[in-house]
Amino acid sequence: MRTYLRLFVAGFRRQSTYRLAAFGGLVANTAFGLLKVALLFAAVRTSGGELAGYDVAMMSSYIWISQGMLGSVNLTGRTEIADRIRTGDVAVDFLRPLDVHLASVTTEVGRAVFALIPRGIPSVVIGALLVGMAVPEDPWAYPLGAVSLLLGIVVSATTVYLVGVSGFWLLETRGVALLYMVVSGFLAGLFVPIALFPDWLRLVATATPFPAMMMYPVDVLSGRVGGAAAVGLVALQVLWLVLTVAAGQLATRAGRRRLEVQGG
């Protein structure tokens, strides 16, 4: 356990060495945040000040929390484990007395949690100062929101890991990663809230782990969903965590038998 904690810290510290990249990320997040403000505020206003339960303040919370999570939730499909399998460096991982799956996910989560400092929190602060946002009245929304946020980050890491280990079977995982990027951002609710989806598409989204990565934490943190319903969303995140971890364990075990590292 202590070992995985150290790996978490290592991921955190590694990310801390890339300050300029973090700053660049924040600038991009803010620019796209303002674009989302322009589009989504207009949509709320044209439908008479409320759209699918969102007023302008709530929409602002959605925009800036989701933008802030972008540095921590992996919606690109690209992972270190995919590169390590492709280059054969994964051989080194198998030389350690560690569960390769858990070690990989822990390091990724450490990196992601660090990104909240230079990208997550500033993004929300900038949004609040520029356009204002709704804050939850229920004090429980904050601790529950923090738990939901962390679960979102972890589910993102355990799900995208599955894309990475497809490299045990596929020679090239960039196609899968690209597909993941297109689908995950949309279904996670990055572009518009899932509540704005047509019914059938919302059903499709909730059948995937993607809303658990971003939409649910945003709903809990912004206070849009509160009380028992919020606890329900967190429970759903836990369910996706269990499913993706189980799949990751199976895939790693099966993939290891297929591993081909020739030469070097």
Partner: protein, 322 residues
């Protein structure tokens, strides 16, 4: 804290591994390792040599549970590498000359701490072992430097420290001296010799460097196309292929070809006979004896002995088999 093993530290029976590679649209099977049966006892130092693509790295990955064998059986430290991978990882340290096990963007010190934690070393054991390795591999000057900023020689020393931090019983080195300058090679070899005499560590190394084999190994395993073709001492290997040494002498004045020196073969003369090359077989004479006979015939100014290249020996063995 070295647990005594009963039986060999490495034992394989008819071990084999195939790879499927794409050849245009068709797939074909490449046999990387085939019918490999070897046995290494605790404390041995074994040089595992062969041409590129002979299956050396694949064998290492089969021994350590990274790759699954296609055929045959393998036991390392009495464990089954695939099934007992994590237990085996505590007994074995591997240095891949071409891959890093350090965290690229963290200082060396952090990588060593992480590895100590990964191997669940106690605080005291961690400090003692780290201090020992830092001193003997001379890491102190760059402990705080991120790995990506190290020179190759520094990185290799850090890699060796990382692989040996948990005091493994078996140390496997895959091309450990590749790309290193003479001094760095020398230091690394001295360290490995000391480590072995102190801790009784078993060494298995692949290399293209004759110096590594001569200085470090008391046994050679030679592989060709995935199969073992020689198992014995280096001297025995040289004997098998008749590896001659070449004595190059610079003489004080132009001299006719020295074709009559006992137990030697005149290879050629340069600069009007001021430089001459003589081959001799170390089994039938010595460099000293050849020199003695030479100085009766001419005045020597300078000399050099050329060692046979490992590639040359390997090539001759391969040629004799084909």
């Amino acid at each position: 804290m070295i647990t005594p093993t009963i039986g060999p530290i490495i034992e394989t029976h008819d071990l084999g591994r195939d790879f499927r590679v794409r050849d245009g649209l068709r797939r074909r099977t490449v046999v990387a390792v085939d019918r490999l049966s070897i046995r290494v006892e605790p404390g041995e130092a074994v040089g595992y040599i062969g041409a590129n693509g002979a299956g050396k790295s694949t064998t290492i990955k089969l021994l350590t549970g990274i790759l699954m064998p296609t055929r045959g059986t393998v036991a390392t430290c009495g464990l089954r590498p695939m099934a007992d991978r994590r237990r085996l990882a505590r007994e074995v340290g591997v240095v891949f000359g071409q891959r890093t096990q350090l965290w690229w963007d963290l200082p060396v010190r952090d990588s060593l701490r992480l590895l100590a934690s990964i191997h669940a070393l106690g605080r005291v054991a961690e400090r003692e072992r780290t201090d020992e390795l830092v001193e003997r591999l001379e890491l102190a000057e760059f402990l705080g430097t991120p790995v990506r900023q190290l020179s190759l020689g520094q990185r290799m020393r850090a890699e060796v420290a990382a692989a040996l931090l948990h005091s493994p019983r078996l140390v496997i080195l895959d091309e450990p001296t590749i790309g290193l300058d003479v001094l760095s090679k020398q230091r690394l070899r001295e360290f490995l010799i000391a480590e072995r005499s102190r801790h009784g560590t078993t060494l298995l190394l692949t290399t293209h460097d004759m110096g590594d084999v001569e200085r470090l190994c008391d046994r050679i395993l030679l592989v060709d196309r995935g199969s073992l073709v020689y198992d014995g001492t280096l001297a025995g290997l040289s004997r098998t292929v008749g590896a001659e040494r070449v004595l190059v002498v610079d003489l004080a004045e132009p001299t006719p070809d020295l074709a009559d020196v006992p137990d030697t073969r005149h290879l050629g003369s340069e600069a009007g006979g001021m430089r001459q090359r003589l081959a001799f077989d170390p089994e039938s004479t010595t460099a000293a004896r050849v020199l003695a006979s030479l100085s009766d015939r001419a005045e020597l100014v300078d000399l050099a002995v050329e060692e046979p290249e490992i590639e040359e020996i390997v090539r001759r063995i391969y040629a004799s088999r084909r």
